[in-house]
Amino acid sequence: MSSKTTGDILGEISKSISNLEPLDQVTKLVKKALKEHSVTEIIDGALKKGLDEVGNRYEKGEYFLSELLYAGEIMTNISNVLKPHMKQTDVGQREVILLGTVRGDMHDIGKNIFGMIAQFSGFKVQDLGVDVDPKTFIDETKKCGADIVGMSTLLTSTLPEVKTVIDGLKEVGVRDRVKVIIGGNAVTKQFAEEVGADAAALDAVEGVDICKRWRAK
Protein backbone atom coordinates (compact mmCIF):
# COMPACT_ATOMS: atom_id res chain seq x y z
CA MET A 1 0.00 0.00 0.00
CA SER A 2 2.99 2.26 0.19
CA SER A 3 3.69 2.49 -3.54
CA LYS A 4 3.65 5.91 -5.13
CA THR A 5 0.66 4.99 -7.32
CA THR A 6 -1.34 3.89 -4.27
CA GLY A 7 -0.70 7.08 -2.36
CA ASP A 8 -1.45 9.12 -5.43
CA ILE A 9 -4.90 7.75 -6.05
CA LEU A 10 -6.06 8.61 -2.53
CA GLY A 11 -4.49 12.04 -2.86
CA GLU A 12 -6.19 12.47 -6.23
CA ILE A 13 -9.58 11.61 -4.75
CA SER A 14 -9.02 13.98 -1.86
CA LYS A 15 -8.03 16.76 -4.25
CA SER A 16 -10.93 16.12 -6.60
CA ILE A 17 -13.33 16.43 -3.63
CA SER A 18 -11.78 19.64 -2.33
CA ASN A 19 -11.67 21.12 -5.85
CA LEU A 20 -15.32 20.17 -6.37
CA GLU A 21 -14.73 18.33 -9.61
CA PRO A 22 -17.54 16.80 -11.71
CA LEU A 23 -19.33 13.88 -10.08
CA ASP A 24 -18.46 11.27 -12.72
CA GLN A 25 -14.79 12.19 -12.52
CA VAL A 26 -14.68 11.72 -8.74
CA THR A 27 -16.60 8.45 -8.71
CA LYS A 28 -14.35 7.11 -11.49
CA LEU A 29 -11.33 7.70 -9.24
CA VAL A 30 -13.05 5.97 -6.31
CA LYS A 31 -13.85 2.92 -8.43
CA LYS A 32 -10.20 2.80 -9.48
CA ALA A 33 -9.06 3.08 -5.84
CA LEU A 34 -11.31 0.19 -4.79
CA LYS A 35 -9.09 -2.18 -6.82
CA GLU A 36 -6.19 -1.46 -4.48
CA HIS A 37 -7.69 -0.19 -1.23
CA SER A 38 -10.17 -1.14 1.42
CA VAL A 39 -13.16 1.10 2.06
CA THR A 40 -11.61 2.19 5.38
CA GLU A 41 -8.44 3.28 3.61
CA ILE A 42 -10.42 5.29 1.09
CA ILE A 43 -12.54 6.93 3.79
CA ASP A 44 -9.60 7.78 6.05
CA GLY A 45 -7.02 8.52 3.38
CA ALA A 46 -9.15 10.41 0.90
CA LEU A 47 -12.72 11.29 1.83
CA LYS A 48 -12.10 12.75 5.28
CA LYS A 49 -9.10 14.74 4.04
CA GLY A 50 -11.03 16.04 1.03
CA LEU A 51 -14.00 17.06 3.14
CA ASP A 52 -11.76 18.65 5.79
CA GLU A 53 -10.19 20.78 3.06
CA VAL A 54 -13.66 21.83 1.86
CA GLY A 55 -14.42 22.84 5.46
CA ASN A 56 -11.15 24.78 5.70
CA ARG A 57 -11.88 26.69 2.51
CA TYR A 58 -15.38 27.48 3.80
CA GLU A 59 -13.92 28.81 7.06
CA LYS A 60 -11.43 30.91 5.12
CA GLY A 61 -14.22 32.41 3.02
CA GLU A 62 -13.08 30.78 -0.24
CA TYR A 63 -16.08 28.47 -0.34
CA PHE A 64 -19.70 29.26 0.50
CA LEU A 65 -22.78 27.22 1.32
CA SER A 66 -23.27 26.34 -2.33
CA GLU A 67 -19.85 24.64 -2.37
CA LEU A 68 -20.66 22.77 0.86
CA LEU A 69 -23.86 21.50 -0.68
CA TYR A 70 -22.09 20.32 -3.81
CA ALA A 71 -19.42 18.62 -1.67
CA GLY A 72 -22.32 16.81 0.00
CA GLU A 73 -23.55 15.70 -3.40
CA ILE A 74 -20.09 14.36 -4.24
CA MET A 75 -19.93 12.47 -0.93
CA THR A 76 -23.37 10.93 -1.48
CA ASN A 77 -22.29 9.71 -4.90
CA ILE A 78 -19.08 8.25 -3.48
CA SER A 79 -21.07 6.57 -0.73
CA ASN A 80 -23.22 4.84 -3.30
CA VAL A 81 -20.09 3.48 -4.96
CA LEU A 82 -18.57 2.33 -1.64
CA LYS A 83 -21.69 0.81 -0.04
CA PRO A 84 -21.58 -2.59 -1.78
CA HIS A 85 -17.95 -3.00 -0.66
CA MET A 86 -18.49 -1.93 2.94
CA LYS A 87 -17.91 -4.30 5.88
CA GLN A 88 -18.91 -3.74 9.50
CA THR A 89 -15.26 -3.10 10.40
CA ASP A 90 -15.17 -0.20 7.93
CA VAL A 91 -17.83 1.55 9.94
CA GLY A 92 -16.57 0.73 13.43
CA GLN A 93 -17.92 2.04 16.70
CA ARG A 94 -19.18 5.56 16.06
CA GLU A 95 -20.50 8.29 18.31
CA VAL A 96 -24.17 9.02 17.75
CA ILE A 97 -25.48 12.49 17.01
CA LEU A 98 -29.22 12.90 17.35
CA LEU A 99 -30.31 15.80 15.22
CA GLY A 100 -33.45 17.81 14.55
CA THR A 101 -35.10 21.20 13.99
CA VAL A 102 -37.15 22.20 17.03
CA ARG A 103 -40.95 22.26 17.22
CA GLY A 104 -42.56 25.06 15.22
CA ASP A 105 -39.67 25.47 12.80
CA MET A 106 -39.56 23.83 9.37
CA HIS A 107 -36.12 24.99 8.21
CA ASP A 108 -33.64 22.27 7.43
CA ILE A 109 -30.80 23.33 5.11
CA GLY A 110 -28.24 24.13 7.83
CA LYS A 111 -29.23 21.03 9.80
CA ASN A 112 -28.87 18.83 6.73
CA ILE A 113 -25.43 20.20 5.89
CA PHE A 114 -24.30 19.68 9.49
CA GLY A 115 -25.63 16.10 9.33
CA MET A 116 -23.84 15.40 6.06
CA ILE A 117 -20.47 16.69 7.25
CA ALA A 118 -20.83 14.95 10.60
CA GLN A 119 -21.62 11.67 8.89
CA PHE A 120 -18.53 11.83 6.69
CA SER A 121 -16.47 12.88 9.69
CA GLY A 122 -17.20 9.52 11.25
CA PHE A 123 -20.31 10.16 13.34
CA LYS A 124 -23.47 8.12 13.18
CA VAL A 125 -26.21 10.67 12.53
CA GLN A 126 -29.82 10.08 13.41
CA ASP A 127 -31.88 12.87 11.89
CA LEU A 128 -35.36 13.38 13.38
CA GLY A 129 -36.30 15.93 10.72
CA VAL A 130 -38.05 19.26 11.27
CA ASP A 131 -40.72 20.49 13.70
CA VAL A 132 -39.59 17.92 16.26
CA ASP A 133 -41.59 17.67 19.46
CA PRO A 134 -39.50 18.00 22.67
CA LYS A 135 -40.77 14.61 23.84
CA THR A 136 -39.46 12.99 20.66
CA PHE A 137 -36.01 14.52 21.23
CA ILE A 138 -36.00 13.18 24.81
CA ASP A 139 -37.39 9.72 24.02
CA GLU A 140 -35.04 9.22 21.07
CA THR A 141 -32.01 10.37 23.08
CA LYS A 142 -32.69 7.56 25.53
CA LYS A 143 -33.58 5.04 22.84
CA CYS A 144 -30.63 5.47 20.51
CA GLY A 145 -28.07 6.15 23.23
CA ALA A 146 -27.10 9.46 21.66
CA ASP A 147 -23.75 10.96 22.64
CA ILE A 148 -24.63 14.37 21.22
CA VAL A 149 -27.99 16.07 20.76
CA GLY A 150 -28.04 18.72 18.04
CA MET A 151 -30.92 21.19 17.81
CA SER A 152 -31.46 23.72 15.07
CA THR A 153 -33.71 26.78 15.10
CA LEU A 154 -33.82 29.61 12.62
CA LEU A 155 -36.69 31.46 14.23
CA THR A 156 -36.50 33.61 17.34
CA SER A 157 -40.03 32.50 18.24
CA THR A 158 -38.92 28.88 18.57
CA LEU A 159 -35.84 29.53 20.71
CA PRO A 160 -37.70 28.57 23.95
CA GLU A 161 -38.10 25.04 22.53
CA VAL A 162 -34.36 24.52 23.02
CA LYS A 163 -34.69 25.10 26.76
CA THR A 164 -37.73 22.82 26.94
CA VAL A 165 -35.70 19.97 25.45
CA ILE A 166 -32.69 20.58 27.70
CA ASP A 167 -34.92 20.70 30.78
CA GLY A 168 -36.61 17.49 29.62
CA LEU A 169 -33.24 15.74 29.25
CA LYS A 170 -32.46 16.76 32.84
CA GLU A 171 -35.81 15.49 34.09
CA VAL A 172 -35.30 12.02 32.65
CA GLY A 173 -31.74 11.93 33.97
CA VAL A 174 -29.79 11.77 30.70
CA ARG A 175 -28.48 15.33 30.47
CA ASP A 176 -25.17 14.43 32.13
CA ARG A 177 -24.31 11.76 29.62
CA VAL A 178 -24.99 13.78 26.45
CA LYS A 179 -23.51 16.92 24.99
CA VAL A 180 -25.97 19.44 23.61
CA ILE A 181 -25.07 21.59 20.63
CA ILE A 182 -27.40 24.17 19.07
CA GLY A 183 -27.30 26.07 15.80
CA GLY A 184 -29.36 28.15 13.39
CA ASN A 185 -29.89 31.79 12.55
CA ALA A 186 -31.52 32.71 15.86
CA VAL A 187 -28.88 31.09 18.04
CA THR A 188 -26.04 32.94 19.78
CA LYS A 189 -23.28 31.79 22.13
CA GLN A 190 -24.90 33.86 24.87
CA PHE A 191 -28.24 32.12 24.37
CA ALA A 192 -26.51 28.72 24.58
CA GLU A 193 -25.07 29.69 27.96
CA GLU A 194 -28.41 30.99 29.21
CA VAL A 195 -30.28 27.78 28.41
CA GLY A 196 -27.52 25.43 29.49
CA ALA A 197 -26.43 24.04 26.12
CA ASP A 198 -22.81 22.91 25.89
CA ALA A 199 -22.12 24.82 22.69
CA ALA A 200 -23.60 27.01 19.98
CA ALA A 201 -22.32 26.70 16.43
CA LEU A 202 -22.40 29.66 14.09
CA ASP A 203 -22.35 27.36 11.08
CA ALA A 204 -22.33 23.67 10.16
CA VAL A 205 -18.55 23.43 9.80
CA GLU A 206 -17.93 24.94 13.22
CA GLY A 207 -20.60 22.64 14.66
CA VAL A 208 -18.86 19.50 13.39
CA ASP A 209 -15.48 20.81 14.59
CA ILE A 210 -16.91 21.19 18.09
CA CYS A 211 -18.29 17.63 17.97
CA LYS A 212 -14.90 16.33 16.80
CA ARG A 213 -13.20 18.07 19.73
CA TRP A 214 -15.65 16.43 22.14
CA ARG A 215 -14.94 13.06 20.54
CA ALA A 216 -11.19 13.52 20.92
CA LYS A 217 -11.44 14.04 24.69
Binding site: Y63, S66, G104, M106, T158, N185
Partner: protein, 390 residues
Protein backbone atom coordinates in the same frame (compact mmCIF):
# COMPACT_ATOMS: atom_id res chain seq x y z
CA UNK B 1 -43.41 67.37 1.97
CA UNK B 2 -45.61 64.38 1.17
CA UNK B 3 -44.54 60.89 2.32
CA UNK B 4 -43.51 60.12 -1.26
CA UNK B 5 -41.41 63.28 -1.54
CA UNK B 6 -39.68 62.45 1.74
CA UNK B 7 -38.89 58.91 0.67
CA UNK B 8 -37.60 60.05 -2.72
CA UNK B 9 -35.45 62.73 -1.16
CA UNK B 10 -33.66 60.14 0.99
CA UNK B 11 -33.37 57.56 -1.79
CA UNK B 12 -31.67 60.24 -3.90
CA UNK B 13 -29.41 61.52 -1.08
CA UNK B 14 -31.24 64.81 -0.64
CA UNK B 15 -32.30 66.16 2.74
CA UNK B 16 -36.04 65.95 3.48
CA UNK B 17 -37.85 68.01 6.13
CA UNK B 18 -38.09 64.84 8.17
CA UNK B 19 -36.76 61.31 7.71
CA UNK B 20 -39.36 58.75 6.70
CA UNK B 21 -39.60 55.61 8.86
CA UNK B 22 -40.36 52.26 7.27
CA UNK B 23 -41.40 48.90 8.67
CA UNK B 24 -42.72 45.57 7.49
CA UNK B 25 -45.08 43.57 9.67
CA UNK B 26 -45.78 39.86 9.61
CA UNK B 27 -49.53 39.26 9.44
CA UNK B 28 -49.12 37.08 12.54
CA UNK B 29 -47.64 40.06 14.39
CA UNK B 30 -50.62 42.26 13.52
CA UNK B 31 -52.96 39.45 14.62
CA UNK B 32 -51.10 39.14 17.92
CA UNK B 33 -51.33 42.91 18.42
CA UNK B 34 -55.10 42.82 17.97
CA UNK B 35 -55.20 40.39 20.89
CA UNK B 36 -52.95 42.80 22.81
CA UNK B 37 -55.28 45.74 22.26
CA UNK B 38 -54.53 47.27 18.85
CA UNK B 39 -57.76 49.17 18.16
CA UNK B 40 -59.32 47.45 15.17
CA UNK B 41 -61.54 50.37 14.21
CA UNK B 42 -58.59 52.73 13.97
CA UNK B 43 -56.55 50.39 11.82
CA UNK B 44 -59.23 49.72 9.23
CA UNK B 45 -58.87 51.86 6.13
CA UNK B 46 -61.98 52.53 4.08
CA UNK B 47 -61.33 53.66 0.54
CA UNK B 48 -63.61 54.18 -2.41
CA UNK B 49 -62.87 51.16 -4.61
CA UNK B 50 -64.65 50.23 -7.81
CA UNK B 51 -65.14 46.75 -9.17
CA UNK B 52 -63.75 44.56 -6.41
CA UNK B 53 -61.61 42.50 -8.72
CA UNK B 54 -64.24 42.41 -11.47
CA UNK B 55 -66.45 39.94 -9.67
CA UNK B 56 -69.49 42.18 -9.45
CA UNK B 57 -70.79 45.59 -10.44
CA UNK B 58 -71.44 47.28 -7.12
CA UNK B 59 -70.28 50.85 -6.67
CA UNK B 60 -69.93 50.80 -2.91
CA UNK B 61 -67.10 52.01 -0.76
CA UNK B 62 -65.02 48.95 0.04
CA UNK B 63 -63.18 48.17 3.23
CA UNK B 64 -59.67 48.14 1.90
CA UNK B 65 -58.30 46.35 4.89
CA UNK B 66 -56.08 46.81 7.88
CA UNK B 67 -53.39 49.38 7.52
CA UNK B 68 -51.33 49.27 10.66
CA UNK B 69 -48.67 51.30 8.85
CA UNK B 70 -50.65 54.51 8.68
CA UNK B 71 -51.87 53.92 12.24
CA UNK B 72 -48.28 53.92 13.51
CA UNK B 73 -47.16 56.56 11.01
CA UNK B 74 -44.62 54.53 9.09
CA UNK B 75 -44.04 53.66 5.46
CA UNK B 76 -44.23 50.16 4.02
CA UNK B 77 -42.98 48.38 0.92
CA UNK B 78 -46.56 47.85 -0.20
CA UNK B 79 -48.47 50.57 -1.97
CA UNK B 80 -48.46 51.62 -5.58
CA UNK B 81 -46.81 48.74 -7.43
CA UNK B 82 -46.52 48.25 -11.21
CA UNK B 83 -49.45 45.88 -11.84
CA UNK B 84 -47.80 43.48 -14.29
CA UNK B 85 -48.06 39.77 -13.59
CA UNK B 86 -44.59 38.21 -13.82
CA UNK B 87 -45.65 34.86 -12.36
CA UNK B 88 -46.06 31.63 -14.33
CA UNK B 89 -49.05 31.61 -16.69
CA UNK B 90 -51.14 29.62 -16.58
CA UNK B 91 -50.79 29.43 -12.80
CA UNK B 92 -50.50 26.07 -11.17
CA UNK B 93 -53.76 25.21 -9.50
CA UNK B 94 -53.30 25.89 -5.80
CA UNK B 95 -54.76 22.92 -3.97
CA UNK B 96 -54.50 20.86 -0.81
CA UNK B 97 -52.66 17.60 -1.45
CA UNK B 98 -52.69 16.20 2.06
CA UNK B 99 -53.92 17.24 5.48
CA UNK B 100 -53.66 15.93 9.02
CA UNK B 101 -54.07 17.43 12.48
CA UNK B 102 -50.83 19.39 12.39
CA UNK B 103 -49.84 19.85 8.73
CA UNK B 104 -51.25 20.96 5.44
CA UNK B 105 -49.44 19.90 2.28
CA UNK B 106 -50.32 21.97 -0.73
CA UNK B 107 -49.42 22.68 -4.32
CA UNK B 108 -48.43 26.35 -4.61
CA UNK B 109 -49.27 28.68 -7.48
CA UNK B 110 -45.71 28.38 -8.73
CA UNK B 111 -45.81 24.58 -8.85
CA UNK B 112 -43.95 23.70 -5.66
CA UNK B 113 -45.18 21.33 -2.96
CA UNK B 114 -45.18 22.96 0.46
CA UNK B 115 -45.86 21.48 3.85
CA UNK B 116 -46.81 23.91 6.56
CA UNK B 117 -47.97 23.93 10.14
CA UNK B 118 -51.71 24.59 10.28
CA UNK B 119 -51.87 26.67 13.44
CA UNK B 120 -52.92 30.27 12.78
CA UNK B 121 -49.90 31.69 14.61
CA UNK B 122 -47.69 30.04 12.07
CA UNK B 123 -49.39 30.69 8.77
CA UNK B 124 -46.44 32.38 7.13
CA UNK B 125 -44.04 33.38 9.85
CA UNK B 126 -42.46 29.98 10.34
CA UNK B 127 -42.24 29.39 6.59
CA UNK B 128 -43.39 26.13 5.04
CA UNK B 129 -41.09 23.25 4.27
CA UNK B 130 -40.87 22.79 0.52
CA UNK B 131 -40.74 19.15 -0.39
CA UNK B 132 -40.80 19.34 -4.17
CA UNK B 133 -40.05 21.92 -6.82
CA UNK B 134 -41.19 22.21 -10.42
CA UNK B 135 -37.74 22.51 -12.00
CA UNK B 136 -35.32 19.67 -11.44
CA UNK B 137 -33.32 19.46 -14.64
CA UNK B 138 -33.15 20.65 -18.23
CA UNK B 139 -36.27 18.73 -19.26
CA UNK B 140 -38.50 20.12 -16.51
CA UNK B 141 -37.05 23.62 -17.09
CA UNK B 142 -38.02 23.48 -20.77
CA UNK B 143 -41.57 22.58 -19.74
CA UNK B 144 -41.73 25.32 -17.08
CA UNK B 145 -40.26 27.93 -19.44
CA UNK B 146 -43.45 27.80 -21.51
CA UNK B 147 -45.26 29.42 -18.59
CA UNK B 148 -42.85 32.34 -18.68
CA UNK B 149 -43.94 33.82 -21.99
CA UNK B 150 -43.65 37.63 -22.05
CA UNK B 151 -46.17 37.88 -24.86
CA UNK B 152 -49.04 36.38 -22.85
CA UNK B 153 -51.72 39.13 -22.94
CA UNK B 154 -52.93 38.19 -19.43
CA UNK B 155 -49.83 39.77 -17.89
CA UNK B 156 -51.23 43.30 -18.02
CA UNK B 157 -54.39 44.42 -16.16
CA UNK B 158 -57.66 44.38 -18.06
CA UNK B 159 -57.93 48.14 -17.65
CA UNK B 160 -54.34 48.81 -18.73
CA UNK B 161 -54.33 52.25 -20.26
CA UNK B 162 -51.26 54.40 -20.68
CA UNK B 163 -52.71 57.77 -19.62
CA UNK B 164 -54.72 56.45 -16.68
CA UNK B 165 -51.79 54.61 -15.20
CA UNK B 166 -49.45 57.57 -15.70
CA UNK B 167 -51.98 59.62 -13.76
CA UNK B 168 -52.17 57.05 -10.96
CA UNK B 169 -48.40 56.83 -10.65
CA UNK B 170 -48.00 60.61 -10.72
CA UNK B 171 -50.75 61.23 -8.21
CA UNK B 172 -49.79 58.62 -5.60
CA UNK B 173 -48.33 60.35 -2.54
CA UNK B 174 -48.79 57.96 0.41
CA UNK B 175 -45.42 56.42 -0.29
CA UNK B 176 -43.16 55.51 -3.17
CA UNK B 177 -44.21 53.75 -6.37
CA UNK B 178 -42.50 50.47 -7.02
CA UNK B 179 -41.61 47.76 -9.46
CA UNK B 180 -41.10 44.35 -7.87
CA UNK B 181 -39.57 41.15 -9.22
CA UNK B 182 -37.29 38.26 -8.27
CA UNK B 183 -33.59 38.55 -8.98
CA UNK B 184 -31.55 35.89 -10.70
CA UNK B 185 -30.60 33.96 -7.58
CA UNK B 186 -34.08 34.29 -6.05
CA UNK B 187 -35.72 33.14 -9.27
CA UNK B 188 -33.59 29.99 -9.52
CA UNK B 189 -33.91 29.13 -5.84
CA UNK B 190 -37.71 29.55 -5.99
CA UNK B 191 -38.02 27.22 -8.97
CA UNK B 192 -35.55 24.53 -7.91
CA UNK B 193 -35.32 24.92 -4.13
CA UNK B 194 -32.38 26.47 -2.31
CA UNK B 195 -30.26 23.34 -1.92
CA UNK B 196 -30.87 21.84 -5.40
CA UNK B 197 -30.26 25.22 -7.08
CA UNK B 198 -26.99 25.72 -5.24
CA UNK B 199 -25.86 22.20 -6.13
CA UNK B 200 -26.87 22.74 -9.75
CA UNK B 201 -24.55 25.76 -9.98
CA UNK B 202 -21.72 23.20 -9.94
CA UNK B 203 -23.48 20.20 -11.43
CA UNK B 204 -25.07 21.71 -14.52
CA UNK B 205 -23.74 25.22 -15.25
CA UNK B 206 -25.32 25.26 -18.73
CA UNK B 207 -28.78 24.85 -17.27
CA UNK B 208 -28.19 27.72 -14.82
CA UNK B 209 -26.94 29.96 -17.62
CA UNK B 210 -30.00 29.17 -19.70
CA UNK B 211 -32.36 29.89 -16.79
CA UNK B 212 -30.68 33.22 -16.05
CA UNK B 213 -30.66 34.24 -19.71
CA UNK B 214 -34.33 33.45 -20.08
CA UNK B 215 -35.23 35.27 -16.87
CA UNK B 216 -33.46 38.42 -18.08
CA UNK B 217 -35.18 38.27 -21.47
CA UNK B 218 -38.52 37.47 -19.86
CA UNK B 219 -38.42 40.30 -17.29
CA UNK B 220 -37.24 42.89 -19.80
CA UNK B 221 -39.82 42.01 -22.43
CA UNK B 222 -42.70 41.46 -20.01
CA UNK B 223 -42.09 44.74 -18.22
CA UNK B 224 -40.91 46.76 -21.24
CA UNK B 225 -44.24 48.43 -21.97
CA UNK B 226 -44.90 49.40 -18.34
CA UNK B 227 -41.34 50.62 -17.84
CA UNK B 228 -41.26 52.63 -21.06
CA UNK B 229 -44.61 54.22 -20.25
CA UNK B 230 -44.16 54.88 -16.56
CA UNK B 231 -40.40 55.58 -16.66
CA UNK B 232 -39.15 57.58 -13.67
CA UNK B 233 -42.64 57.70 -12.21
CA UNK B 234 -41.47 54.36 -10.80
CA UNK B 235 -39.52 55.53 -7.74
CA UNK B 236 -37.82 52.29 -6.76
CA UNK B 237 -37.21 48.76 -7.93
CA UNK B 238 -37.61 46.07 -5.27
CA UNK B 239 -35.28 43.29 -6.41
CA UNK B 240 -35.86 40.22 -4.24
CA UNK B 241 -32.97 37.82 -3.80
CA UNK B 242 -32.65 36.40 -0.24
CA UNK B 243 -29.29 34.99 -1.21
CA UNK B 244 -27.48 34.75 2.11
CA UNK B 245 -27.49 33.18 5.54
CA UNK B 246 -25.85 34.15 8.80
CA UNK B 247 -22.34 33.06 7.78
CA UNK B 248 -22.39 34.62 4.32
CA UNK B 249 -23.89 34.39 0.84
CA UNK B 250 -25.20 30.99 -0.23
CA UNK B 251 -23.80 31.45 -3.70
CA UNK B 252 -20.13 32.41 -3.84
CA UNK B 253 -19.10 35.81 -5.25
CA UNK B 254 -17.31 33.83 -7.98
CA UNK B 255 -20.57 32.12 -8.98
CA UNK B 256 -22.42 35.44 -8.77
CA UNK B 257 -19.92 36.99 -11.18
CA UNK B 258 -20.35 34.10 -13.57
CA UNK B 259 -24.11 33.54 -13.44
CA UNK B 260 -25.71 36.76 -12.24
CA UNK B 261 -23.54 39.79 -12.89
CA UNK B 262 -23.99 40.02 -16.70
CA UNK B 263 -27.77 39.80 -16.33
CA UNK B 264 -27.86 42.27 -13.45
CA UNK B 265 -25.93 44.72 -15.62
CA UNK B 266 -28.15 44.26 -18.67
CA UNK B 267 -31.31 44.72 -16.63
CA UNK B 268 -30.11 47.71 -14.59
CA UNK B 269 -28.91 49.34 -17.85
CA UNK B 270 -32.35 48.86 -19.35
CA UNK B 271 -33.95 50.41 -16.26
CA UNK B 272 -31.48 53.30 -16.32
CA UNK B 273 -32.25 54.06 -19.96
CA UNK B 274 -35.76 54.67 -18.70
CA UNK B 275 -34.53 56.90 -15.89
CA UNK B 276 -35.18 54.30 -13.19
CA UNK B 277 -32.05 54.16 -11.09
CA UNK B 278 -33.16 53.52 -7.50
CA UNK B 279 -32.75 49.76 -7.50
CA UNK B 280 -32.81 47.99 -4.14
CA UNK B 281 -31.78 44.42 -3.42
CA UNK B 282 -33.74 42.70 -0.67
CA UNK B 283 -31.58 39.99 0.84
CA UNK B 284 -31.54 38.64 4.35
CA UNK B 285 -28.31 37.31 5.79
CA UNK B 286 -24.71 38.36 5.54
CA UNK B 287 -24.26 39.83 2.06
CA UNK B 288 -21.06 41.74 2.87
CA UNK B 289 -18.99 39.73 0.36
CA UNK B 290 -21.49 40.70 -2.35
CA UNK B 291 -21.66 44.49 -1.91
CA UNK B 292 -18.86 45.34 -4.35
CA UNK B 293 -20.58 43.15 -6.94
CA UNK B 294 -23.95 44.77 -6.27
CA UNK B 295 -22.47 48.22 -6.87
CA UNK B 296 -20.68 47.01 -10.01
CA UNK B 297 -23.93 45.53 -11.29
CA UNK B 298 -25.93 48.75 -10.95
CA UNK B 299 -27.73 48.11 -7.66
CA UNK B 300 -28.16 51.32 -5.67
CA UNK B 301 -29.85 50.26 -2.43
CA UNK B 302 -30.06 47.50 0.18
CA UNK B 303 -32.50 46.16 2.76
CA UNK B 304 -32.79 44.81 5.53
CA UNK B 305 -29.10 44.60 6.73
CA UNK B 306 -29.58 42.08 9.53
CA UNK B 307 -27.44 42.88 12.56
CA UNK B 308 -27.17 39.26 13.75
CA UNK B 309 -25.71 38.45 10.34
CA UNK B 310 -22.91 40.96 10.77
CA UNK B 311 -24.37 43.72 8.59
CA UNK B 312 -23.39 47.23 9.68
CA UNK B 313 -25.05 50.20 7.97
CA UNK B 314 -22.58 52.77 9.32
CA UNK B 315 -19.60 50.83 7.99
CA UNK B 316 -21.30 50.31 4.62
CA UNK B 317 -22.11 54.03 4.42
CA UNK B 318 -18.52 54.92 5.28
CA UNK B 319 -17.22 52.69 2.51
CA UNK B 320 -19.79 53.24 -0.21
CA UNK B 321 -21.18 56.71 0.57
CA UNK B 322 -23.81 57.79 -1.92
CA UNK B 323 -23.37 54.73 -4.10
CA UNK B 324 -25.95 52.97 -1.93
CA UNK B 325 -29.06 54.01 -0.04
CA UNK B 326 -29.77 51.81 2.96
CA UNK B 327 -32.95 50.77 4.75
CA UNK B 328 -33.04 48.80 8.01
CA UNK B 329 -30.20 47.65 10.28
CA UNK B 330 -31.97 48.38 13.59
CA UNK B 331 -31.60 45.13 15.50
CA UNK B 332 -35.14 43.78 15.90
CA UNK B 333 -34.09 41.77 18.96
CA UNK B 334 -32.92 44.90 20.78
CA UNK B 335 -35.92 46.96 19.65
CA UNK B 336 -38.28 44.28 20.96
CA UNK B 337 -36.68 44.47 24.43
CA UNK B 338 -37.99 48.03 24.76
CA UNK B 339 -36.72 50.62 27.24
CA UNK B 340 -33.01 51.28 27.48
CA UNK B 341 -32.01 48.47 25.10
CA UNK B 342 -34.31 49.85 22.39
CA UNK B 343 -33.17 53.45 22.87
CA UNK B 344 -29.52 52.42 22.88
CA UNK B 345 -29.92 50.60 19.55
CA UNK B 346 -31.76 53.50 17.92
CA UNK B 347 -29.42 56.16 19.34
CA UNK B 348 -26.33 54.30 18.21
CA UNK B 349 -27.43 54.37 14.59
CA UNK B 350 -30.22 56.71 13.57
CA UNK B 351 -28.62 60.11 14.40
CA UNK B 352 -25.33 59.14 12.70
CA UNK B 353 -26.94 57.66 9.60
CA UNK B 354 -29.39 60.57 9.40
CA UNK B 355 -26.47 62.93 9.04
CA UNK B 356 -24.67 60.68 6.57
CA UNK B 357 -27.78 60.69 4.38
CA UNK B 358 -29.41 58.10 2.13
CA UNK B 359 -30.71 56.09 5.08
CA UNK B 360 -34.25 55.16 6.09
CA UNK B 361 -34.65 53.79 9.63
CA UNK B 362 -36.30 50.39 9.91
CA UNK B 363 -35.96 47.18 11.89
CA UNK B 364 -33.55 44.76 10.24
CA UNK B 365 -36.33 42.50 8.94
CA UNK B 366 -40.07 42.10 9.36
CA UNK B 367 -41.40 42.79 12.85
CA UNK B 368 -41.60 39.36 14.56
CA UNK B 369 -44.46 38.10 16.72
CA UNK B 370 -42.35 38.36 19.87
CA UNK B 371 -42.35 42.15 19.46
CA UNK B 372 -45.24 43.17 21.71
CA UNK B 373 -47.67 45.95 20.85
CA UNK B 374 -46.65 47.87 23.96
CA UNK B 375 -42.96 47.75 23.03
CA UNK B 376 -43.66 48.61 19.39
CA UNK B 377 -45.66 51.66 20.52
CA UNK B 378 -42.76 52.69 22.71
CA UNK B 379 -40.34 52.24 19.79
CA UNK B 380 -42.65 54.12 17.40
CA UNK B 381 -42.96 57.07 19.77
CA UNK B 382 -39.23 57.20 20.35
CA UNK B 383 -38.09 56.92 16.75
CA UNK B 384 -40.65 59.45 15.49
CA UNK B 385 -39.10 62.00 17.82
CA UNK B 386 -35.75 61.60 16.05
CA UNK B 387 -36.96 61.93 12.47
CA UNK B 388 -37.40 65.70 11.87
CA UNK B 389 -34.44 67.80 10.71
CA UNK B 390 -34.32 70.83 12.93
Amino acid sequence: MTPRERMNAVLNFRKPDSLPWLESLYDETTMTWFRQGLPTDKVIVIEWEMGRGGTNLYNWPAVKGFDAYSYFGCQSFYGCVVPVDVGPLPRFKQRVLEEDERYLTMMTETGATARRIKSEERTWYSMPMFTEFPVKDEKSWEIYKKRLDPKDPRRYPKDWNKDDYIKIFEGYQRGITMLRFNGFYGFGAELMGIAPFNIMLHKDPELIHDMAEHWEYYLRETLREAIEILKDRIDMVFWWEDMAEKHGPLMSPKSFREYCLPHYKNLTNFLRKNKIDRIMVDSDGNVNPMIDLFVESGITGMWPLEVNCNMNAIEIKKKYGNKLFLIGNLDKRELAKGGEAMRKEVDAKVPILKEMGGYIPSADHLIPVEFSLERFREYADYIKGLLPYK
